[in-house]
Amino acid sequence: MQAKNLIYDGTFDGFLSAVFYVFEHKLTNVTIQNEFAMQQGLFSDVEKITTEEVKANRVWKGIKSKLSAKGSYQLYYAFLSEQIAVETLLLDYIQYAFSKAHNVDKDYSHPSILKIAQIAKSVGREKHRMEAFVRFRLTKDDIYFTNIEPDFNVLPLIEKHFKRRYADQKWVIYDIKRGYGLFYDLEKVELINMDFPENFNFTKTDDSFFAEQEFEFQKLWQDYFKATNIESRKNLKLHIRHVPKRYWKYLSEKQP
């Protein structure tokens, strides 16, 4: 049978719709690809999948009934990794799960299950890092603003954490790599797209955008960061392992 290549719109529902299509047509030789990251296979037959919420929900419900809560969220986490060909791994996992009567999500010696668990773990780690490394800066409009560039698409995962924690202040967390963000207006969180002024520098706190007191608190935080270090225990290797260099550019304590 000729290889089939299913193209979906990049959303989780889109991916689940593609999974539905695979089951519906009993496809065996198939790959699923995000339309934005598509690689044309030479001899494959391409099919564009329309995202249908009803079908997606059916698949998701099925998955949830087959796996533990942890197993199904691992699938979602792994999906958000946006790694190349993660869809194929996910499909393999889902097909395996549906082929067995018992719950398979702890079958760590199955290659796809172990791999998905590992990818989900790194996405979880990135989520946790964002919860830690976000540094809000107070704007002149009284909004606590931060920009991030996470390795994976973790905004959907961190929304709840920040909403619960900063319930009494307006905030924006903006993913400049993926071009969208979360805005909390004291009532609800919305997805937003922003246009930044041309001279906007994401690493600098510019006094035309940020509140006056912002500079003072950044300075105090930098001072605190220095004072709390014990020089005779210096261990830069450990420091960098905990705070990898790629995160430094948006950390206020790491600014000169």
């Binding site: 010696s109 225990r233 905990h242």
Partner: protein, 420 residues
């Protein structure tokens, strides 16, 4: 607040507080209420790490470094010639709130030198926590020091606002304490600890009957011991630690390698190395006690009074107890799996789950993340390849060390050459 004044105080009082190693911000169950600020329900978060590799999760400061005591090991001791400062209650509140809003911290760790009297000091610590909770509707994490000698009433109030209370016993034995802090007695530290323990139990019992009973120090209490300042061996240290875990329901005992800060000849000289490797081995032992089902006497006892520096305490125990091995990874119970060198609790759980689906071989174990370099000598699995030679402990140790590079290699050769 005046920026420059606050800036100067912050530098002094953060510097003085940094020798307290506790940074935990987890274990509380304080949820955000009435759309206030903060939430301490989840796991703790390390928002940054200092260049020495320690977690920064709380704004850790002293209220003041004025102190009426003269404990030799302490940087804020009365006789030490250094700049003194004191925060106003409102200053600490403002710093905490503004740092928290910017997602720098999980909350506040407030300690203090003892000025005037224990009650006077404790009162101010409580005032900060009270203001944060009642006026700022702050639900982040608060860790307060219990000041030895403070009244029961103040201790009770502290527990109602704080998530964790701690009192540092600092010196592991009474003899050491007598030498380095003659003004202090072990009972002074124990009294507030017992008080807090009893209050926690009482509040928890009441909570079972009356749902609306307020929380009392929901993240429990902890303590800290300085390592390498007063000549105790590891056996004495871990016995003390075990005693505190068992009798005072402590959440954590922290071990802090002594950082030389004094020319006092009762203490290690300024410039001598911080015993970081030893500190690490003590933490490993602490973990074996709390999570791996070891009794402290299996690891440290009259015959083995000090931990090996070149291998971890579990490996060291296994080498002394080769008659318990090898175990079969596909049939051994959880208790024995946890005792295999190179197997962490995460791997143990993965193995327990995975082996229900198929028999595990070396390839599976490697992928799961088992440190086979150590584990291979102590287990068999679904494979006809396993260690068939009858190796002695020394031989196994040699083989393991040969095939591994410890992150402490440099330190290890330094320390060994010191005694060599």
């Amino acid at each position: 607040m005046s920026f420059q004044r606050t800036q100067e105080k912050l530098k002094i009082l953060a510097d003085a507080a940094k020798y307290d190693v506790s940074c935990s911000s987890s274990g509380s169950k304080r949820a955000n209420t009435n759309k206030g600020l903060g939430d301490a329900t989840g796991m703790g978060i390390c928002h940054s790490y200092t260049e020495d590799g320690r977690c920064v999760s709380l704004l850790k400061i002293l209220l003041t470094n004025h102190c009426i005591f003269d404990c030799a090991y302490c940087v804020t001791r009365k006789s030490n010639d250094l700049k003194r400062a004191a925060f106003k209650v409102q200053e600490v509140v403002d710093l905490t709130i503004n740092f928290y809003r910017r997602n720098y911290i999980e909350g506040l760790f407030l300690s203090s030198g003892i000025f005037k009297s224990a009650d006077y000091t404790m009162e101010r610590l409580v005032a900060v926590a009270k203001k944060l909770r009642t006026e700022e509707n702050f639900n982040g994490y608060i860790h307060l020091k219990s000041i030895p000698g403070a009244s029961d009433e103040l201790m009770r109030e502290a527990g109602l606002y704080a998530d964790r209370l701690s009192v540092n016993i600092e010196i592991p034995t009474e003899a050491g304490l007598k030498k380095l802090a003659p003004d202090k007695k072990r009972e002074d530290f124990i009294k507030p600890m017992i008080k807090v323990k009893n209050e926690i139990i009482q509040y928890q019992t009441e909570k079972k009957i009356i749902k609306s009973t307020p929380k009392f120090a929901p993240a429990g209490q902890s303590t800290q011991m300085i390592i390498g300042a007063s000549g105790e061996n590891d056996f004495q240290i871990m016995q003390t630690s075990n005693h505190f875990y068992k009798n005072y329901n402590l959440k954590r005992v922290y071990y802090s390698g002594y950082v030389p800060i004094s020319y006092d000849n009762r203490l290690p000289k300024i410039g001598s190395a911080v015993p970081m490797l030893r500190e690490n081995r003590l933490y490993q032992t602490d973990w074996l006690m709390r999570f791996y089902g070891f009794d402290v006497s299996e690891i440290l006892n009259k015959q083995h009074q000090n931990l090996d520096l070149d291998v971890d305490p579990k490996l060291s125990w296994a080498l002394r107890n080769l008659h318990e091995f090898p175990i079969d990874v596909n049939t051994a119970d959880k208790r024995m799996l946890a005792r295999v060198p190179g197997l962490g609790m995460r791997s143990v759980h993965k193995i327990l789950n995975a082996r229900r689906f198929r028999k595990l071989n070396w390839e599976h174990l490697k992928k799961i993340g088992v440190a086979l370099n150590r584990a291979q000598y102590f287990m068999v699995c679904d494979s006809n390849q396993f260690e068939k030679r009858d190796l002695t402990s020394e031989k196994i140790k040699g083989l393991i060390l040969q095939n591994s590079t410890s992150k402490y290699q440099k330190m290890l050769s330094n320390q060994l050459s010191l005694f060599g």
